[in-house]
């Protein structure tokens, strides 16, 4: 039986999709069979982050009953398998996202982890993803608006009987005005699964001729290292600390003073 986990945040732009893609790869690196599902049927972009935008059969077709779920599964990077959502807006309004739970149930036996990348907000598509999973992992930023939306998402997930297991804090810059990891844990009443630093390499991953998740492009960069720790925590498998990139004196000086 797979652990089915929805990655949700409430607020848009917290980096859910990036975390989902890279977390899937990190879990796969630990020897787990992983399926990623782009459950954001309206604003799908997990396929873009994985560099797999040209997939002829998508979740839309499956939800519409026009294709079998096995025909919509693609081999992604590093052994991860992936069900993309359609990028076209044509089918989006016809799609019945409530069928998602049934689709997940069909695939439960084949994987160790099924990660659902939920949309922002708490509308029907998000409810479908939350109710299709037994567990929810929240992604937030160390700011009050993101935290408020994470709180609402937690309440909604609990209403739908999806257990909220923890929170990943993304885009951490360790600035004075940020809400601390301890405070976020206390406000959400959840353990912090990861404290992912703001990392320019994540952004740069989208600025390549061939887009590849940061964990594949730069596995030793701070964000990649932290995401691997989240995978380790989810599986209980200890991973040796990855060697952090060695920088020269000048590059250390510039990165210390240059990130504000």
């Amino acid at each position: 039986m797979a652990r089915v986990i929805t990655v949700a945040s409430g607020k848009g732009g917290t980096g859910k999709t990036t975390i989902t893609a890279n977390l899937g790869i990190a879990l796969s690196k630990l020897g787990k069979k992983v399926l990623l599902i782009d459950a954001d049927v309206a604003m799908a972009n997990l396929s873009l982050i994985l560099g797999m935008q040209s997939s002829p059969i998508t979740l839309h077709d499956v939800l519409l009953g026009e294709a079998q779920v096995h025909d919509a599964i693609y081999d992604g990077p590093n052994g991860v398998q992936f069900i993309p959502s359609g990028l076209s807006l044509d089918n989006y309004k016809r799609v019945d996202s409530e069928r998602l739970a049934g689709i997940v149930l069909q695939l439960n036996e084949k994987y160790d982890f099924i990660l659902l990348d939920a949309a922002a907000g708490i509308e029907k598509n998000v409810l479908s993803a939350l109710s299709a999973s037994q567990e929810t992992l929240l992604v937030t930023m160390p700011t009050s608006p993101a935290l408020a939306d994470a709180l609402k998402t937690k309440i909604v997930a609990q209403r739908l009987n999806s257990k909220v297991i923890g929170v990943v804090i993304n885009f951490v810059m360790s600035e004075k005005g940020e809400i601390t990891k301890q405070e976020i844990s206390s406000i959400l009443e959840l353990p912090v699964y990861g404290n992912v630093p703001f990392d320019a390499e994540v952004r740069k991953s989208f600025m390549q001729q061939k887009i590849a998740p940061v964990l594949l492009r730069k596995p030793d960069t701070p964000a990649s290292v932290e995401i691997q720790k989240i995978a380790s925590r989810l599986t209980g498998i200890k991973v040796p600390d990855a060697p952090v990139e060695q920088k020269g004196f000048l590059s250390k000086l510039f990165s210390f003073f240059g990130k504000r």
């Binding site: 409810l127 009050s144 709180l151 209403r159 600035e175 510039f254 240059g258």
Partner: protein, 164 residues
């Protein structure tokens, strides 16, 4: 280009070393968020009636009524609802007869929504200000079913204690 980099470097240097960063934690908002979850803490008590009210708050509905398939009332959050139970069950049976694949019936009224959904051989009739998705209706039905189940079990265990 070089000038921008150099200016950026000195600006960051000044921020770090002289601590002229003008950001600060929005403490009032943090305090507000600290209290947020306590307002949504849905813990069941030993009182069945109170638990029904907790479920109303948790699922954001105005009232609900559970009937058996023949329309007899099993439980009502308002303490009555015989007529609504009979009408709701009859309405669902009629629609199910005409459209066998129906999963729920949603009726928009002037003052809100009236929703009927079958679950575990019972009919759940729910009133709310806005419509609930089928997923939300089933989550409420599931919570109510387990509450009813627990209540029946508790009753049985009390009867057993009394018999002893």
């Amino acid at each position: 280009m070089v000038i921008f980099v150099v200016f950026g470097f000195f600006r960051s240097f000044a921020n770090r070393v002289l601590d002229i960063d003008d950001t600060s934690k929005p403490q009032a908002q943090v305090d507000f968020l600290h209290d947020f979850l306590s307002k949504h803490n849905y813990v069941y008590s030993n009182d069945f009636e109170e638990n029904l009210n907790i479920l109303k708050k948790k699922h954001l509905v105005d009232s609900f009524l559970v009937t058996s398939m023949d329309g007899s009332v099993v439980v009502s959050s308002d303490g009555n609802g015989v007529n609504e139970g009979l009408i709701g069950t009859a309405m669902f049976s009629y629609i199910k007869g005409e459209m066998p694949s129906s999963e729920a019936v949603l009726i928009k009224k002037e003052d809100g929504w009236f929703m009927i959904v079958p679950f575990n051989k019972k009919i759940f009739i729910i009133k709310a200000g806005s419509e609930l998705s089928n997923i939300e209706l089933r989550a409420l039905a599931l919570d109510l079913s387990s509450l009813l189940h627990d209540n029946v079990n508790e009753g049985k265990s009390k009867e057993a204690q009394f018999a002893r």
